[in-house]
Symmetry: C2
Subunit: 237 residues, 2 copies
């Protein structure tokens, strides 16, 4: 099993266990052990042993039919992710969401260079925009949340394969302090986003998304900037 240079060997067993969770997270419905083993391409008894361990830690449960679903133990782990950042941001996200009537989210930069939604807040009484639920990833070169992170990054950290058009756009966006997008990640979806850089935290951005924007982008951006300041204040404490 020689590695083709670059990636070093990891742990096979742990990798399989995590992939089980990922399969479950992306599955539309609860899966049987046999289906899981099939998706993982391992023998059923292997999947069985892995699941028993995951069950011990409450990371998976079984429904009444004996099928496997993700368990509440993941909530405990998740609440430890960037804890201070989440705590500082959540009330602000909610406030913005309800005030503007749009889904408001916090995206962070991953090690891989992609952006991912960390938490999101939907306004009351609105159809949830499922495309941007926590964990959703997309390249930082596309979409409001990603480009806002790009705004906050020094030029030396920009991905090398950026188009000239995008370089120009980001440079211009820097002046006004916000990024926006339309149809870039999800068709017929618009977004406005501002960068959020906090010490000891990954680069992040706050964004709102909607099918149409009530008000000018600049107005919305102003509200987001205020929100970013609130988060920074709450975080600094």
């Amino acid at each position: 099993m020689a590695q083709p240079s670059g990636t070093q060997a990891g742990s096979q067993t742990l990798d399989r266990g995590i992939r089980l969770l990922e399969i479950l997270a992306s599955a539309a419905h609860n899966l049987s052990i046999a289906e899981l083993a099939d998706a993982l391409e391992v023998h059923r008894s292997v999947a069985y042993r892995l699941l028993r361990t995951l069950e011990d830690h409450d990371l998976v449960t079984r429904d009444h039919a004996g099928h496997i679903a993700l368990g509440a133990g993941l909530a405990a782990l998740n609440s430890g992710v960037a804890r201070n950042l989440q705590q500082a941001a959540l009330p602000v996200l909610n406030e913005i969401a309800n005030e503007l009537g749009m889904t408001c989210l916090l995206a962070v930069l991953l090690d891989s260079g992609e952006a991912a939604t960390l938490v999101s807040a939907a306004p009351r009484q609105t159809v949830a925009v499922v495309s941007y639920r926590p964990g959703y990833r997309h390249p930082i070169t596309r979409g409001g949340p990603g480009k806002a992170i790009l705004l906050g990054l020094p030029e030396s950290s920009w991905p090398p394969d950026m188009s000239d058009a995008l370089r120009e756009e980001i440079t211009e966006s820097r002046v006004r302090g916000y990024a926006s997008s339309q149809d870039e990640v999800v068709p017929s979806l618009r977004s406005v986003a501002v960068p959020l850089t906090l010490p000891g935290q990954p680069r992040a951005s706050i964004a709102v998304i909607h099918v149409f924007l009530p008000g000018t982008e600049a107005e919305i951006a102003e509200r987001l900037k205020l929100g970013a300041q609130s988060v920074a204040r709450a975080y600094g404490a």
Copy 2:
């Protein structure tokens, strides 16, 4: 390594990987690899290999000092936990939290028989009640959220070691339809909770907690019951 009957063998490697995550989730600050290996009681090179795998899946990251922190990949997994339930409940929890000015949470029954907070919503402008953040566990025989779950359970599913006093309390609570507590789980904290039973989901409850309750328990319980109905309606769709 013979098992003393009862617990069947699981996967050692996967177990260690998960315990790494649990250690990180409960740690006050980011840990070095050496500290983690120490806490896990394994050789550093073992922890190193496990971490590399966790890193590949974005479950952990490193801060600027090279120390390990939980990563955003957990947000993706978490959003798959009882997805429909979370989506139906979150807007309602937020609404209640802001309306009553109290932290509002959704607790679920685990396989182990304990109750755990799945999601919680804090009102704007309030000190977060950190004791009940997602993942927090406590016995269902104590605290409002736990006892409300007990209300929704048939008597045959009650834990065998329940005191007579508690059996009586639950039986009485059934009539009025809500449970309450004071100082049972967290000192000087009060709570009111109602059961929430949805098909295809674990037994759950909706609760508010506060240091003092503005209004009578019955009034608050009425609001919670309305909320539970809203969730059921949103879930049924």
